[in-house]
Subunit: 300 residues, 2 copies
């Protein structure tokens, strides 16, 4: 099944207890596409500025990542800088410069019209909704969001939740969105808001998948050397949806397996700054960690 991601291509500057990195290739769309691309071809939608480095474009094009939906606008590429401390569970944003992304109006290219799986990376709910307007009616759409939209555009976010199949959301955001203190109640409360699948991401504690029919809980792959969590959530979504697009089946069994692949991709993502680790990742390393994670969680 064809897979499309709508998100940012960005340059990130990051401080973590492990060190610093400046102008790293990043962005939600980039992290998603690099992860998903191990399983399937990926179509991207987004916008970059004139400063987007040719070597970064080449890096994406070398892989099966379709950039026909990525426009170039006058101005600079989206830039974010942030800092993590201690256990790296929470990012402190130092600066966000939307730059060319500030005026972004997603326009689905005709070549992408048949996209069956769509990931709407974090962004303004109204902008995400415009993609839903243009998508084919039987597409499987998963969205991401963040605290900013929960606080500042709650009505549009809730309207969008009724139009998507699934959402990926982290623990703090899930509590904020629902007002529920425990994650089990929060996840179930989000199902009541519309989506039939809720992936609740808990960083080093793994993830939950809530649906009306089943519940799946998966610990994180145990990473010894956490360097930079930036993009881990998008790598998780990329591994997950990339596997589903490859499998072409969206039943419970494949949704469970897909979450293991998502967790494996996220585990690699955090082992170096930005997208460095995923860029040098080999497919057999993914399969090794997939098997290891099954073994780490197996009862007998």
């Amino acid at each position: 099944m064809s897979l499309l991601v709508v998100g940012t291509l960005a340059y990130d500057s990051i401080e973590t207890p492990a060190g610093t990195a400046a102008d790293e290739l990043g962005g939600s769309g980039t992290h998603f596409a690099l992860a998903a691309n191990f399983f399937t071809a990926v179509r991207m939608m987004g916008v970059i500025g004139g400063d987007f480095r040719p070597e970064d474009r080449a890096l994406l094009e070398e892989r099966e990542i379709d950039l026909r939906g990525v426009g170039t606008a006058e101005g600079e590429t989206f830039r974010w800088s942030g800092r993590y401390e201690g256990d790296c569970n929470v990012a402190e944003t130092l600066e966000t410069h939307l730059n060319v992304h500030g005026d972004y109006e997603p326009q689905l290219p005709p070549e992408y019209a048949d996209s069956r799986l769509i990931f709407l990376a974090n962004g303004p709910p109204q902008q995400q909704a415009r993609v839903v307007d243009q998508a084919r009616k039987d597409s499987f759409i998963v969205m991401d969001t963040m605290n900013f939209w929960i606080q500042n555009d709650n009505a549009d976010l809730r309207a969008l939740l009724k139009r998507v199949d699934g959402i990926t959301i982290n623990d703090l955001e899930a509590r904020m969105l629902t007002g529920e203190p425990t994650l089990i109640r929060a996840g179930r409360a989000i199902l009541d808001l519309g989506p039939r699948l809720v992936w609740l991401k808990k960083g080093e504690h793994g993830a939950f998948l809530f649906s009306k029919d089943f519940f799946f809980a998966l610990p994180a792959y145990p990473v010894s050397d956490l360097v930079d969590p930036t993009g881990a959530g998008d790598s998780f979504a990329g591994g997950l949806m990339g596997y589903l697009a490859h499998a072409g089946v969206l039943d419970e069994e494949h949704l469970r397996r897909a979450m293991v692949y998502g967790s494996v991709l996220a585990s690699f993502n955090v082992e170096d700054f930005g997208a460095r680790r995923v860029c040098r990742l080999q497919r057999d390393e993914i399969e090794t960690r997939y098997r290891e994670l099954l073994r780490f969680t197996a009862v007998a």
Copy 2:
């Protein structure tokens, strides 16, 4: 295999977002014994005051809980009062009155001399060490501890860690003991301090088991209505060691299964104040949640 717990019998007064309860039967030894007793006979060591209610003694004796190692001293029974807020992940102690427990000198009764599995519930490391001194040399000893001893009796705690087979420790304590920011590094660092098994408890996020030979990660059973987490860690240890004592085998397979039973007992414990839920628990409810938790965590 015979199972012994050395811990407190107490009266707790508890405030949680779900309500309050005063003078609840509690204590680490009580919670452990009530959980373990679903699987095997349990021997207890501890001390109570003259105010210990006859109905509470009867409640323990009705079950297969051996109180020959529980002395009665002049004075009042141990009392604790505490408060939980929000997600209930951290207890705030309001008052601790050691009372008769302050001068407790554990003395292994001759009838308990053959105990093969021993749980040293949270207490002063020197007091815990006195039990190790008296235990048979081939006993399987698991200890618990808390932040207070890590901060105030670190040397004795580290000496004791070299003499036990396993430790149960929560996430905050594991970070405090090792100085490691991530739980994976913290768990491995505790193995280096002596015990060959480290159960790292993460509340609603489940638990890890670290050993030199394998790693096991288990999500918590998803509890919708969290009422009072007091004693959950001891119920976890009780379910775990009760199952191991019943099985009589301490290999990897049984250690994994035992952790599932521990998680199941903890999940019941938190559904009402004190030990109320575990006191009215039926064996078939345990088996149902055991199977459910396997299903919640199974990939295929």
